[in-house]
């Protein structure tokens, strides 16, 4: 469904991706792991159209996305939950969610998707009239995931959704992802929480310094000595 080949991206003179190749199939959960500064966010931003890659291909259902505007990429069924959530801070929970349904592909299903999001995160339904800035970090992350779901995506990309959350909240966010995936949405998950991410992912990639250095089934990566040493610590 999503095919990335030899992708190169840079900020000015700073290379962030030097030839990344990976794919996400329909219905899959794929995890992307890597240390700080590896280029994970850069990769997601390139796919979402927020950053123009220097070279390589991003194909989505056969179409090259590199010249498609970011707002039109949403129309193709790709949604992203950005790093740091990036909510519309001065608006209410419901306004944030409704804005998620701005795209033409999402408008007809707005009501149904809103119900789906509230079913997934019941606490948001209680807080629907609150300004999002007043919510806790975990609730804000739920709004961010909910807003992306409102675009009615075929593929949901998430950039470190568990960052800064208490373990209990991390679990409920990740469980929500499994639930979303069961509904037929493919998930591309960037995580530093390696154990949790690889447990729920079908497949995973390891990105270091702008290159893919490892890939495999989630369970296999969990047993991989390099992954264990680098990401799970000596005690794992």
């Amino acid at each position: 469904m999503l095919e990335i080949r030899d992708l190169v991206a840079a900020y000015g003179d700073v290379r962030a991706l030097s030839g990344v190749t990976l794919s996400v199939g329909s219905g899959e959960i794929v995890a992307l792991l890597g240390p700080n500064g590896a280029g994970k966010s850069t990769l997601l931003k390139s796919i979402a159209g927020l950053l123009r890659p220097r070279a390589g291909a991003i194909r989505w259902e056969g179409e090259d996305l590199r010249s498609v505007g970011a707002h039109l990429i949403v129309e193709r069924g790709l949604a992203m939950v950005p790093e740091g959530r990036r909510l519309f801070g001065s608006m209410t929970v419901e306004e944030n969610l409704e804005l998620g349904a701005f795209a033409a592909r999402a408008r007809p299903r707005k009501r149904a998707n809103l119900d789906r999001v509230y079913a997934l995160f019941p606490v948001l339904s209680e807080r629907r009239r609150q300004i999002v800035r007043a919510l806790s970090g975990g609730q804000q992350q739920m709004v961010a995931v909910g807003r992306a779901l409102m675009t009615n995506p075929k593929l949901l990309m998430l950039d470190e959704p568990s960052l800064g959350l208490a373990p209990r909240l991390v679990r409920s966010i990740l469980e929500a992802l499994v639930e979303i995936n069961r509904g037929g949405v493919a998930v591309f998950l960037v995580e530093q929480n390696v154990q949790a991410a690889l447990t729920l992912a079908h497949r995973g990639y390891v990105l270091e310094a702008g290159r893919i250095v490892g890939e495999g089934r989630g369970a296999d990566l969990l047993r991989d000595p390099h992954v264990r040493r680098a990401y799970l610590g000596p005690l794992a």
């Binding site: 159209g49 927020l50 970011a70 707002h71 949403v74 990036r86 409704e98 804005l99 701005f102």
Partner: protein, 288 residues
């Protein structure tokens, strides 16, 4: 003149300050571009109304129905021709380029107005221009009262537009975080365009009210840009109702200081407020 009367007149012009500031605030909040030619757009709106009344013989207030849509169109044209290129640049370049374009536009519009209408001061004479409502010792000029009411109605309409219209919400989302707006499928260029057009429309409407209750000349632009900027700083970004209240506040403060220290200090008080707010409350009274 008794103090209450002066304050009343301050409040009446304050409504127009609020309207003048709303357009500037919208454009600044959404495009992150300070349009220093905003006052010239107000001036142009004033002459537009002046022409509509002189050439078509329509009621001055009815000229709004002409000036408002025409200013919207002017806003579209200005965005396509000038400001649309500015917003593509990164933040620093954006600030520099927009100031350059804004000052250039201000000079050009000033020169155009002098050519078309001479440098003389003008105001629209209405058949009911002298009418006043007397309440106790106060006499309320009907025309200015109507202007205040219209300014309030326009701000209210704008508020509804921004909260209930699909693209109004998109404009607010873009103001909050344009990249997040893109990720929800909003064409932020279109949001910029609409915000700029609406901002110019509001300037035109404000100019119309200025030319009816007060007076216009080709050189009023800078003064109105300053007033609008003071109100924007005073009120903060994000709330149009707050901006309107900020305008009323500036009008009152000007009147109070004129009463206390004499007329010449009228203009100074705005700048003092500007500095005080910047120091004490950088996000403004109602800013988010």
């Amino acid at each position: 003149m008794i103090l209450a009367q002066q304050l009343l007149l301050g409040l009446l012009i304050g409504g127009i300050y609020g309207l003048a500031a709303a357009g500037l605030s919208l454009v600044f909040g959404v495009l992150k571009v300070l349009n220093v030619a905003h006052g010239e757009l107000i001036m142009l709106g004033g002459y537009g109304a002046f022409w509509a009344v002189a050439l078509l013989g329509i009621d001055p207030f009815a000229s709004l129905l002409l000036v408002l849509p025409l200013s919207l169109l002017l806003g579209l044209a200005l965005y396509w021709a000038l400001f649309g290129f500015v917003v593509r640049a990164d933040e620093e370049t954006r600030v520099k380029n927009s100031l350059l374009i804004g000052f250039g536009l201000a000079l050009a519009l000033h020169a155009l107005a002098v050519r078309l209408w001479t440098a003389d001061e003008r105001s629209i004479i209405t058949p009911y221009g002298g009418a006043v409502i007397s309440v106790g010792d106060l006499s309320i000029p009907v025309v200015r009262l109507l202007s205040l009411a219209l300014a309030f109605a326009l701000i209210g309409g704008l508020h509804l537009l921004l909260t209930h219209w699909r693209w109004g919400q998109a404009i607010r989302a873009t103001a909050d975080d344009w990249q997040a707006a893109l990720l929800t499928g909003i064409d932020v260029r279109r949001a910029y365009l609409l915000a700029f057009a609406i901002g110019t429309g509001l300037a035109g409407a404000a100019g119309t009210l200025v030319s009816i209750g007060y007076s216009i000349s080709p050189s009023i632009g800078l003064e109105w840009t300053l007033k609008a900027l003071i109100v924007v700083v005073l009120a903060g970004l994000g709330s149009m109702i707050g901006t309107f209240v900020g305008g009323l506040f500036l009008g009152l403060a000007e009147a109070a200081s004129a009463a206390a220290f004499g007329g010449p200090y009228r203009e100074v008080v705005g700048l003092v407020i500007f500095v005080v707010v910047l120091v004490l409350r950088p996000r403004g009274l109602f800013g988010r």
